[in-house]
């Protein structure tokens, strides 16, 4: 079994990396990441092979006589292995550059490797115990990584994250147990064959629990609250892994349980998933756009992208319910493709953001600006990521979002009126999302990289190391390739889709993509080519028609006030002010204006403006629950009042109760 051995060799490489991170000289610890790059390469090769090889299971390693660890290898797992590997491959280069000379670098590298290995474990596990162990290892490793910066904010964020995701895990455990009870097995493969025997109530319960459990990890609204806390404080070489890959393992889990094991479900499953996806996409990006923290912004944007992925999955579920399998395959392909794309461009963006934070020492965009001059490469590559995530043609994000639109639109083929109305509305939500994403990324890129530097931080920033630029360049290159030649990524997607729906992906790729039943066609290759040619033609035309002309470099137009400075620039907060006003029902903004006068009311000394939006779910859902819990617990604490007599009383009462009810 060459494949199996490749997997083992890959895992061994990553393990070596973990060991090396603790044993290498502290100056050379950043090179321990190279182990993970070799490991990722091996995993990439083996994962790619899995896509086109028959599924097989590895040997089970007994934990106790009741459970065993086991790994199984099929196309769905293969796809996610490839997804993880691509990101981690490049990320390991990035990490080499980023973590040079960093304090506690060994610790960082160790848990990085552990996180990576556990993610591979999750997607390859063949039974529920293995899955849970890998799943929680992943959570624990990410906890250690989040608290890497030794400060109270990180500690809080770490705790919040690990608790939130653990609550999700509790739901996963519950659904696994229900599954195991009714199928009589703990192996996913056996569960799949026995899935028909599960009563419908239990099926619904499993579905809901899966949505909550995996949704917590994926960050669907309103279970997303940990994401904007955890990502910003995690080290910059970890955030890409968490955002690009870790939340995809949640998507994997959901697919494995709800689509693979359970199979087709009632209509409302798909509709609910579309609705949840749409809500996550719109609200996620609405919250993102208000952020002036570079990493928090990207974190919320992950929430949004998970929403888009879920919309595709939901569409696939509705099609499967009405036995329209080719359409189900198509919608699922859109979702998986978007998952892959998101992994690419989001890790590119987080790497770029990491480089900026590394160079400038602040995450606050309001203190950045003009970085494109100091960090030309990082800036250009960040722009590439920005274009991809904004789904602008001809990059990869556009293709997968286009497919998602088509998948949603194909909902009109459904026989159900609800699906017919919900699907196009999902499409409208996607359009809304796309427009807000554009606004958000214009704001972020422009505030960070364009205009004048807003603080010393931005003035002093310097270009990142070649390792980091190399990693980002490769990712940006892939974003472009996957967009211009979508046939390549779809080759990775289609076997995974087939393994779930059992119906091959009906997507004509000759010359242009044609959706099932020829409802639409798109050729990004030709589009890209024509964009380039037209631009060239325009340059040529302008030269010919205008002749050679002078270009004068001067100050920006300043309305006659001399010395335009960086304080007069449009800020990120100002940029999104219209949205804050338009969507005030959602943001519930608080506005604070302090004016101090020299001579009231004519001469103003200073104006301080503070505006913040209300984090709705935290304020009105999480905090009351937590407060209630603490209040109740504090009241119950009186039971242990310190009085020995009271304790003796408990014994007496217990005994009497047992005597009365027990005998």
């Amino acid at each position: 079994m060459v494949v199996l051995n490749t997997f083992i060799a890959g895992s061994a490489c990553i393990l070596f990396g973990a060991i090396a991170s603790l044993t290498l000289l502290s100056k050379a610890r950043n090179y321990s990441y190279l182990f993970s790059s070799v490991g990722s390469l091996l995993f990439l090769a083996a994962g790619g092979y899995l896509l086109y090889a028959p599924a097989f299971a590895g040997a089970a390693i007994p934990v106790t006589s009741n459970f065993s660890f086991g790994f199984s290898f099929d196309a769905l797992a293969g796809f996610f292995v490839v997804l993880i590997s691509i990101v981690s491959l490049f990320l390991s280069f990035y990490s080499v550059g980023l973590t040079r000379g960093i304090r506690h670098g060994g610790y960082l590298s160790f848990f990085y490797h552990l996180l990576l290995l556990s993610m591979y474990g999750v997607v390859l596990s063949s039974n529920i115990v293995t899955f849970l162990v890998c799943w929680e290892t992943m959570a624990v490793a990410s906890y250690f990584l989040i608290v890497f910066d030794r400060n109270a904010e990180a500690a809080k964020a770490g705790l919040f994250t690990v608790v939130m995701t653990h609550i999700g895990t509790v739901f996963i455990i519950a659904l696994f147990l229900v599954l195991a009870r009714f199928t009589g097995s703990m192996e996913f493969s056996a569960m799949r064959s026995a899935a028909a025997s599960i009563p419908s109530g239990a099926r619904n319960l499993i579905f809901i629990f899966a949505l909550i459990g995996f949704g917590t990890k994926a960050g669907i609204i309103p279970l997303h609250t940990w994401i904007p806390r955890a990502y910003p404080v995690a080290p910059s070489n970890v955030t890409p892994l968490m955002s690009g890959v870790m939340i995809k393992t949640a998507v994997y889990g959901f697919l494995r349980i709800c689509l693979d094991v359970l199979g087709p479900g009632p209509e409302w499953w798909g509709i609910l998933v579309i609705a949840v996806g749409a809500a996550s996409a719109v609200l996620g990006i609405l919250y993102a756009v208000m952020e002036s923290d570079l990493k928090v912004f990207l974190a919320y944007s992950s929430v949004e992208n998970v929403g888009i992925i879920l919309m595709g999955i939901g569409a696939s579920m509705t099609f499967r319910n009405s036995a329209m399998h080719p359409l189900a395959s198509f919608a699922l392909a859109a979702a998986l493709f978007h998952a892959l794309n998101h992994a690419l461009f989001k890790s590119l963006l987080f790497q770029g953001a990491g480089s900026v934070v590394h160079a400038a020492g602040t995450r606050n965009m309001e203190q950045l600006g003009g970085l494109l001059k100091n960090m030309p490469w990082t800036g250009a590559l960040f722009l590439a990521g920005t274009l991809a995530i904004t789904a602008l043609p001809p990059l990869n994000g556009f293709v997968s979002e286009w497919l998602t639109y088509q998948a949603l639109l194909l909902g009109f083929k459904s026989s159900s009126v609800v699906v017919k109305i919900v699907s196009p509305l999902g499409g409208a939500a996607l359009a809304l999302t796309g427009a807000i994403v554009a606004a958000g990324f214009v704001k972020t890129f422009a505030t960070t990289f364009l205009g004048m530097p807003r603080s010393e931080h931005a003035i002093d920033a310097r270009e990142s190391s070649p390792w980091m630029i190399a990693s980002m360049s490769l990712l940006a290159f892939l974003c472009l390739i996957f967009g211009v030649f979508p046939g390549i990524p779809l080759m990775l997607v289609s076997p995974a889709v087939f393994s779930i729906t059992g119906s091959s992906l009906d997507l004509d790729l000759h010359g242009s993509m044609v959706t099932p039943q020829a409802t639409a066609s798109l050729s990004t290759t030709a589009l890209a080519l024509s964009l380039v040619l037209i631009a060239l033609a325009a340059i040529l035309f302008v030269r010919l028609a205008g002749g050679r002309r002078r270009t004068v470099i001067a100050d920006s137009w300043d309305c006659g006030i001399p010395a335009l400075n960086s304080h007069m620039q449009y800020t990120a907060a100002a940029f999104t002010k219209p949205l804050r006003i338009i969507y005030k029902r959602i943001y519930l903004p608080n506005r604070e204006l302090k004016v101090s006068y020299i001579v009231k009311p004519f001469f103003v000394r200073s104006i301080t403006y503070g505006g913040e939006i209300t984090p709705f779910f935290e304020r009105y859902v999480y905090e009351p629950v937590m407060r209630g819990m603490h209040t109740a617990a504090t009241k119950i604490k009186l039971l242990q009042s310190g009085s020995l007599q009271l304790y003796l009383g408990y014994i007496l009462i217990t005994l009497i109760a047992l005597l009365i009810f027990g005998t």
Partner: protein, 219 residues
């Protein structure tokens, strides 16, 4: 003699006596009267053991009776007296609730025990009520411990509980193998001594024998 004992169900009489001495604790106000009641209670218990010995004709029970008298009837009361003197405590036992209520609840406890042990339990031996009475004694002693403030009343309550326990042990099963009985007795003696030591320590460390002060550890 055996016949006489059986005819007049002397065991029942003695066990009811034990119950009554336990119930009277509810009415007593001073720690000295507790010790006195305990002494009577222990002698009654020893008597009961002796009676059982006669009935089943087991010689080791006589020894058990003698041991009981020696430890519970003589040794422990002496130890307690000494502790009382060393601690120089106020003699009131300062209950949390009034004596009347205390008595009433004790009555309820006895009723609960009788009610819950009605069905299902097949009682043989010389007394139909020995088990019920012993459980009642144990619960009443526990109740005394709960409602009195002083450290020493705790010790007294525990001692009464043990007597109730022995009542059950001897009236139901006519005692255990001697070595076991010795072990149990020894253990209990040790326990009481150590409790006494702690009671003295509490008085010394907290400058009070009231258990109200011992509520620092909580939550």
């Amino acid at each position: 003699m055996k016949h006489w004992l059986e005819t007049y169900s002397i065991i029942d009489f003695i066990s009811v006596g034990i119950l009554l001495t336990a119930v009277t604790l509810n009415a007593f106000k001073s720690i000295e009267s507790y010790v006195k009641a305990y002494t009577i209670n222990s002698w009654l218990l020893a008597g009961l053991i002796a009676v059982v010995g006669v009935l089943v004709n087991e010689s080791h029970l006589y020894m058990a009776a003698v041991l009981t008298v020696l430890t519970k009837g003589v040794l422990i009361p002496i130890i307690i007296w000494r502790i009382i003197r060393r601690m120089r405590v106020a003699h009131e036992v300062t209950p949390y609730i009034s004596n009347t209520l205390s008595l009433a609840i004790s009555g309820i406890l006895v009723a609960v025990v009788y009610a819950s042990l009605q069905g299902g339990i097949f009682v043989t031996g010389f007394s139909r009520d020995a088990l019920q009475i012993s459980i009642a004694v144990i619960l009443i002693s526990l109740f005394i411990m709960i409602t009195r403030k002083k450290a020493l009343t705790m010790v007294m309550g525990l001692l009464f509980m043990e007597n109730g326990l022995f009542l059950a042990g001897f009236s139901l099963t006519f005692g255990m193998p001697t070595i076991i009985e010795l072990g149990v007795l020894f253990d209990m003696l040790m326990g009481v001594i150590i409790l006494g030591i702690f009671a003295v320590q509490i008085k010394r460390v907290f400058a009070s024998a009231d258990l109200d002060k011992l509520t620092v550890l909580k939550g």
